[in-house]
Subunit: 353 residues, 2 copies
């Protein structure tokens, strides 16, 4: 039996079912069954004893707590996005809404502008306004706020991003497979000198796409050249343009590039157009995400579709489970990507860049 | 200053303004200004935060009922949008956020999918969660929910839309001027047979743009022909494509068109491309809104910029006033539009459609 002294809930926080389970050394679902008189006979007597002892020690009040929880449901969930002007997120929000709607939930969305202070203020506002759960699309690889959320007991899921050491479920695109689709498409067209305009490395998406790019280049027999990798410091058009400029200024030859997302690809379009480099004749470009209107760009963008709507839908499902069970599991659900071939890619011309 | 004489000699010690000031580390007069909403803007934001924290920590009860009500501010505002996948709204949301941020407000956004039941559920959820005010971008010309909002006493503003008989302030683009810019641009290029792909007429924007189109055609000596007007039933690409198909099927000649928004213009692009009608060589197109990426379309879209960011910013200002004054005025603030000429318009070729 564990010593509760190390797990005393801090001032002002109510002990949760998870606290009781932890102190009793059992799974929360077991603790729940032991605390509920109707299901108690399903649990063996010594376990019931441990759970009841733990509950008493912590001052956990099962009946009123459970009733309180049920009565206090707000049927409101929150979604935290890093950048509302990135068209990736509206379809994801739609997926979450559609996934929640059947259970009577409404979704409110808040934007952080990738600003950690703003994110903290917003999450606190929503937790104080008693949302029943949160879908976080803002996760960085190392993300202190998530540990605070873990401690608060508010159920949450990560969508499109994952974080190291998070105890919540996440729904992410299978970036490794997606970058593989992009690289093999270009190699299949005959490209060997392929550049990567990578995304911000503090995000799981920017990090894993870069790592996978290198892996696929090595494993598909193309020539990975560190000189052909540049980094955009944010997933937007302007940082993409700056990175593209840096790449061109290196004067290294390449015939194709994989951009870490579609907006970065658009920034590449802008710079290449200015310098009279033709897409795809001189440089083929593959984007990532298949945002709305990618088919309307000039040229229409070949890109990896991640299924952001599906990510949202699955995220909603996991969030509803977490709210219902009042416990988190750190499972990660990958959504398989697909390649959408449009007109920004073709075979390399002989003797080009 | 405090009115301790009016207080019951209580069981414990009631915290005074002086206590709050002491805990916050400021002069009592500063604490007083920070606690009074009318004078709060005179105090810097971090000091206000410290004072409010101290007041909350101590359980400080300001001396009037009104003040007490004001102290229960949540510093959360809501924005209701009809269609989050319309890229018009993210910059508007950004404008509202930026306008609110200086006053310590966070914004939560909710999407209605243009569904009245969903809108009602969302507004109720936000009002129950005690947002201090709402920015409504969903208004229809006749909108029952707004009357309920009037009755509820929750301050709100209308952004981008107006409603007949609403008692709230609205910030709208000056559509009459905007359509004038579009029509005169086309007439200046030499067009006379100009079509209008109008928006949904139950919205103030769709209605006023259509009315203004007719007015400007009549007043600029062009030929208004009802056969050249079709209606899209929503402000999206697909309804725009359907309306464009209807127009083409009428076999009426025209050399240019004004679309009620940019997404409807994109739907026109799709249909014209399918039918091998060239933009702008065969048909010039002017959109409306200047959404993000309008410069990336093929061809880049000539459009009327409404300043959606500015609409949001002004809306936030009016909302903060309404929250502070606890009263609504039905003023309407028009934001002047401008024309952005890109490559979807040119002089008509002789003997075309």
């Amino acid at each position: 039996m564990t010593h509760s002294s190390s797990r005393k809930p801090s001032l002002g926080t109510m002990p949760t079912l998870r606290d009781v389970a932890h102190v009793a050394g059992v799974h929360p679902s077991t603790a729940s069954r032991a605390l509920n008189e109707a299901t108690r006979p399903l649990v063996n007597a010594s376990t019931v004893g441990r759970v009841l002892d733990a509950a008493e020690q912590l001052g956990y009040q099962p009946n009123s707590m459970a009733r309180g929880l049920k009565m206090s449901r707000t049927f409101t969930a929150g979604m935290i996005v890093p950048d509302l002007t990135n068209p990736l997120f509206p379809p994801m929000a739609r997926g979450i809404e559609d996934g929640l709607q059947g259970s009577g939930y409404t979704l409110v969305i808040a934007n952080t502008d990738n600003d950690l202070d703003k994110e903290r203020a917003i999450v606190e506002a929503l937790v104080n306004r008693r949302v029943d759960g949160l879908a976080m699309a803002t996760a960085r690889r190392h993300h202190g706020l998530l540990q605070e959320l873990d401690a608060s007991g508010v159920p949450y899921v990560l969508v499109n991003r994952s974080a190291e050491h998070a105890s919540a479920p996440s729904v992410v695109s299978d970036d490794h497979a997606g970058i593989g689709l992009a690289v093999r498409h270009l190699i299949g067209l005959g490209h060997r000198r392929i550049a990567h305009v990578a995304g911000p490395q503090q995000t799981s998406t920017g990090f894993s796409r870069h790592r996978s790019f290198r892996w696929w280049m090595d494993n598909e027999g193309a020539e990975f050249d560190p000189d052909l990798v540049v980094f955009a410091d944010w997933f937007q058009e302007e940082p993409g343009a700056r990175a593209m400029t840096e790449l061109l200024d290196r004067q290294t030859t390449f015939t194709a590039l994989v951009a870490a997302n579609d907006l970065i690809a658009l920034g590449c379009y802008d710079v290449l157009r200015e310098r009279d480099v033709r897409v795809p004749d001189d440089v083929s470009i593959v984007g990532y995400n298949d945002i709305p209107f990618a088919d309307q760009f000039n040229p229409p963008l070949t890109t990896v579709r991640i299924g952001s709507y599906e990510i949202g839908l699955k995220g909603a499902e996991l969030l509803l489970e977490a709210i219902r069970d009042q416990e988190q599991t750190s499972m990660s659900v990958p959504i398989p990507p697909s390649l959408v071939v449009r007109r920004s890619t073709c075979a390399p011309s002989t003797g080009s860049r």
